[in-house]
């Protein structure tokens, strides 16, 4: 499918019902322009739709979900908390015959939170696409979405494509690489997001916001933070943790003795602090 063709199909899709917009969810339309360009870039550069399971987090009216399926994903799952938006998404899906898109009503933040011992057995997706809230109404909402996305591609590994305000670039890079265990965090394109005056508090008619299209890569294998959810993982970890605590206690006792004798050795104290960080 050509970019032009995708763009024109997306232009025909219905937007949010303006009388049912929810400001706390930062529901802004993903325009046909930006959506088609985003999706086309992903498929043409990385082939991450064809033959892949795709999840669209905060799918809203299902624009990106439908686009991913049109570009060759055999199974897309759109997740959103808002049933009004999902009702529109269903209508949009009906425009295309047998489009392989399912929708699930769920709170993306609850996917980001620890999700019980069952988590590791669940099927993960290959690719996450999302146009998340920018975190202007609820601070951290953007990072919550990214955390949830990382959780969904963990196991087999995969890629996350997401739109974020350019002003948060340095922060996101840090979170992705240090906290979420991504092996790559790369800005593929800088886009201008034409934000029409959607809500009452918008004073200007419309405003261009600078937005980055990101690609995050999550390598295969369990993540340290997920590990604690797993029953097996817990058993595996409890033992060494206990041992480490004992070792630490011994070490600190030893240090007290040494401190009395030699007047203190700070290097071991540093080691100890690092240990504590690992345990937390």
């Amino acid at each position: 499918m050509k970019l032009k063709e995708l763009h024109s199909l997306m232009q025909d899709m219905a937007p949010f019902d303006p009388s049912r917009l929810k400001v706390q969810l930062e529901q802004y339309p993903t325009g046909a322009d930006i959506a088609s360009r985003m999706l086309f870039t992903i498929e043409s550069m990385y082939n991450d739709f064809e033959g892949k399971v795709v999840v669209d987090l905060g799918c809203g009216t299902g624009m990106l979900s439908a686009g991913a399926a049109l570009l060759g994903s055999p199974a897309v799952v759109g997740v959103d908390i808002d049933d009004d938006a999902l009702a529109v998404a269903l209508e949009n899906r009906e425009q295309f015959e047998d489009l392989p898109v399912d929708f699930v009503r769920a709170d993306v933040a609850s996917i980001a939170a620890r999700d019980g011992g069952c988590a590791w057995r669940r099927l993960r997706c290959d690719t996450v696409i999302m146009n998340p809230p920018f975190g202007t109404r609820r601070k951290g909402a953007d990072v919550d979405f990214l955390r949830a996305a990382a959780r969904l591609v963990r196991g087999g590994g995969g890629a996350i494509y997401s739109l974020h305000k350019s002003s948060t670039r340095a922060h996101l890079q840090k979170v992705a690489l240090r906290e979420l265990g991504c092996s790559e965090a790369q800005v593929l394109a800088e886009l201008r997001y034409d934000l029409p005056a959607t809500y009452k508090f918008h004073k200007q008619q419309s405003r261009d916001i600078e937005v980055d299209l990101w690609r995050f890569v999550v390598p295969p294998g369990p993540d340290a933070d997920e590990d604690e959810d797993e029953e097996e993982g817990q058993q595996r970890r409890q033992q060494p943790q206990k041992q480490r605590k004992q070792q630490k206690q011994q070490a600190s006792r030893r240090r007290e003795v040494e401190a009395e004798g030699s007047g203190g050795d700070t290097s071991e104290e540093d080691d100890d602090e690092e240990d504590e960080e690992e345990d937390g």
């Binding site: 033959g51 399971v53 055999p74 999902l86 392989p100 399912d102 011992g117 669940r122 099927l123 087999g156």
Partner: protein, 123 residues
């Protein structure tokens, strides 16, 4: 929703250890044709929790041709791949519920959309 989607969902109520797989109560099941793609089936098979999938297929009445344990080489056989494809991608739970195996909490499925939202006291 398809059984592929069912394989992704779990009950995440606070404190629940075994919220997967969700049991399916089927009221209305529909079929929609999907493109047959053996490469995709081979790609997804090792990621899938087979027992959960099979249990779901039985609940939706589309388990024919799906063995308890998939023998080696089955992914090269047309008959198995067709049965697998059909149950995974073409059969949809339209109305019904998903039930947490540990707590019995029911998640309603309406118009094909499971409502996995938790109440405040469940988070």
């Amino acid at each position: 929703m398809k059984l592929l989607t069912h394989n992704m969902l779990a009950c995440t109520i606070k404190g629940v250890q075994n919220g997967f797989p969700l049991k399916i109560e089927a009221e209305e099941v529909v079929e929609r044709e999907a493109d047959f793609d053996p490469d995709f089936l081979r790609h997804i098979f090792p990621k899938l929790e087979w027992a959960a999938f099979l249990e779901g297929a039985r609940a939706l009445g589309c388990a024919e041709g799906l063995p308890d344990a998939v023998p080696e080489g089955a992914l090269e056989e047309e008959a198995f791949l067709r049965a697998f494809h059909h149950a995974l991608l073409e059969v949809h739970l339209e109305e019904g519920a998903l039930v947490c195996p540990e707590t019995g909490r029911r998640f309603i499925v309406s118009k094909g959309i499971p409502n996995m939202l938790l109440n405040e006291d469940e988070v």
